[in-house]
Amino acid sequence: MRIARNTLTRLIRTPVKTALFLLLLSFTAALVCAGGSLWKLCGDNMRRFEEIFVTIGTVEQTPERTEQRAVWYADEEDYRYYNRAVYGETISPDVLDFEGAGYLSGPEQRAYYEALPQDYLFKEREGGLWQFMVVEASPLEDCVPAGPVKMELKNVLYSTYPPNVFYFYLCDHYNDSPEPLYADKTYVMALEDGHAHDWDENGAEAKFEYEPLEGPYSTQADADGKRLPTDLTGNWIAEVTPGFYETKEGQDWLRLCEECVLRGSKHLSFPVTATEDLNLVMAFYNRQAYLAEGELLSEEDYQQGNRVCLISAAFARANGFQVGDSLHLALRYANYATSANLGSMGNWGGRLKADGGVYEVFEESDYTIKGIYDVGVSTLEGGEGYLLERNEVFIPTASIKNSNEDNIAYYGPMKGYTTSFRIPNGSESIENYKRLWEAQGVDHVEITFYDGGYSKLEGGLKNMQTMSAVLLTAGIVSAVCIIIFFCHLFITKQKKRTAIERCLGMTKAACASSLLAGVFVIALAGSMAGGLAGQFFAGQAAAQMASAETFDTRFSNGEVQFSMEKSEEELTDENADGSSVAKSAYLTETDWRISAVCGGLVFLFTMGTAFVGIYGNLREEPLALLSDAGK
């Protein structure tokens, strides 16, 4: 104790030197701690963003050319001209399988499967169900349906809902040279409502105008996406002759009706989308769809093919479904050409198999409802193909155990809303992918990347990490220099003192303690003060970083995962322009343990250097040193 007291007395009697050592040591310790804390924080943030952000690429086969198409409009008695994309041979998504791509998910050309509606209730399209019907009818007089012609309804083979009329008007609206119809003949025809001439003068009767739709036809494809040959013509009308329904053509018409009954309606759909990763579905990726209840499909679900599903809130409400309930899914056919939303609008091909048969269920299982998603404000960015169908169900691709190769109802070119993949985050990863993709030399395939602003964020964090590395390095270098310099002053230059103490009978251990006591006090105080200051400055810098590096959620798709556990209100501040800014994504809490470790290292290095100096002092021959000093 007395030794320590003497040492402290000496420190107090050299206040400038002591204060300077303390100050500089605190400063350098603060630099080291701040640098270390920020380095760790940047690393943590990068790892966090790495987890919550997702980088996907959507793939679209681009048309080889466009061509002008003339469409007859009967009401205008003129053509309208539209440009239509003309695709070359359908390119397989296999072209995306190349070495070094580094996919985390996919690439997948997603199919949606039409499921049997069972007794479930479905949310219908706004504006009600369009009427679609297959009927037998005869014109009241011989006519050409180039304009509205009055028809007598003879038999309803199928209708979305009962027509409740005996007569209706028919117009082969888009045909510039329709075939004549004869009053003494009966025709079977596929019709839908929804189109009207300007029929003000005809009053209420105008609403019964129907226009033809395709009759039985098929777009069935094989496993390679090649269209299967078929003799189904797709004619919207056929003459009903005696024994007609015993003929192949008549049977096809009956199966078309059977198909409509199975499905419930032409415009009603129970689509089930199979995916390897929900992040690949743009509506989930850009947060239009978010989890309202339960959980998302997990990595294990995708890998193991667990029979779990995610259903829409609308569908859940209509049927009173809760998370954990069972949903019976009977899948009939796959559509690889469009998204479920486009498919439900009827914008796709025929519904019969190439041989005229009805698609049978090829996969039937009970699925557990794992989560319920809801859809926020929808935008038409990218087109309707990117929107979700109202009753759309999502399941893991691997949960479908049976092959669908005989049940592919439609196959088409890759589209952004059907084909996507996921790669690691970061501009480096994207650039690497682009470079490798270009080397494949595949034409007419366009890839668009979405990273939710991760690249920008990553750049900011990397800059910050570089700065923290500079800070850390500067701190370490200056700490080493200052510690060595002051240990020289406090230890090495105290050789004479050690020699005197040795000559006075002090043991080597006591001499070491005597010198160490002073350094210990300064090192401890300096390291602690520096650690606290470093922690404080790192916290300030982190807060500054977070406020400077907020990002707009319109482009921050990585918030998808983030929103699973927190409400949107918790996550965002609303901007004046309606966009929102993520506020809780950044970690700003610095880890006190890093400061403790850095401060501890500074302390230990100081003590270590002091030990080395003291060891050198004790190796000197005391009397020789003192004799030399006097001469």
């Binding site: 005197i500 006097g630 001469k631």
Partner: protein, 229 residues
């Protein structure tokens, strides 16, 4: 070896070799001598003759390479030499070597603190020793740098005897002093030997100091010889 209680230190065939990485240097060669209580010994010789090395061995800061150095018959190799320096032998130097950041009083109290003497008693004894070496009380709280060379050497002597030892080793104690202070210090050393029964061993170039000694040894190339007995 003949037992003689008056002989406090006896050197028997003491040799010492400095060994560096590249060479060996024989600093002392078969030194034989003895030191008794109550006498002043002077060891003279040129620089590099081995005087300081011998003093270093006498202070227990090192041990002979060959031969034996005995303190009251006990081989110094087997002794706790830190305790020996603390309790029995003290060294004073030409450059005084006081602790510059401790006051005069604290310097003198220092060895007693190492002996765990109570602070109050240590202070009283320090005052006594400082008075004994003739240092005015007004200087007790001064820092060493604020007093003269002669006063500093007296403080050094007070510190040396404060531990209560019986061997006082001095390395050129008057080398930095003027003739007036030199005489004061030499008288003080003689007084400590003759009145307080210290064995005072002085390494010196100074003829006046040597003249005041009871026994004078000469050292040349590590060989000790009796000059005057």
């Amino acid at each position: 070896m003949e037992e003689n209680l008056e002989k406090i230190i006896e050197a028997v065939n003491v040799s010492y070799i400095y060994q560096t990485k590249y060479q060996k240097t024989k600093a002392l060669s078969e030194v034989n001598c003895s030191f008794e209580r109550g006498k002043v010994y002077a060891i003279t010789g040129k620089s590099g003759s081995g005087k300081s090395t011998f003093l270093s061995l006498l202070a227990g800061l090192d041990v002979p390479t060959e031969g034996m150095l005995a303190v009251e018959g006990q081989d110094m190799r087997k002794m706790n030499r830190d305790a020996y320096r603390l309790n029995r032998a003290s060294v004073i130097y030409q450059a005084f070597h006081l602790f510059p950041l401790l006051t005069v009083m604290e310097n003198v109290m220092f060895p007693m603190e190492l002996q765990h003497v109570a602070a109050k008693e240590a202070k009283a004894r320090a005052q006594e020793y400082l008075a004994k070496v003739g240092l005015p009380e007004t200087l007790y709280k001064k820092m060493p740098g604020m007093i003269s060379g002669g006063e500093q050497q007296r403080v050094a002597i007070a510190r040396a005897i404060a531990a209560g030892g019986e061997i006082l080793l001095a390395d050129e104690p008057t080398g930095n002093l003027d003739s007036q202070n030199e005489k004061v210090i030499v008288d003080l050393l003689c007084k400590l030997a003759h009145e307080d029964n210290y064995a005072v061993i002085v390494v010196t170039h100074n003829e006046a100091v040597a003249a005041a000694a009871d026994v004078v040894y000469g050292m040349s190339d590590g060989v000790l010889s009796v000059v005057r007995e």
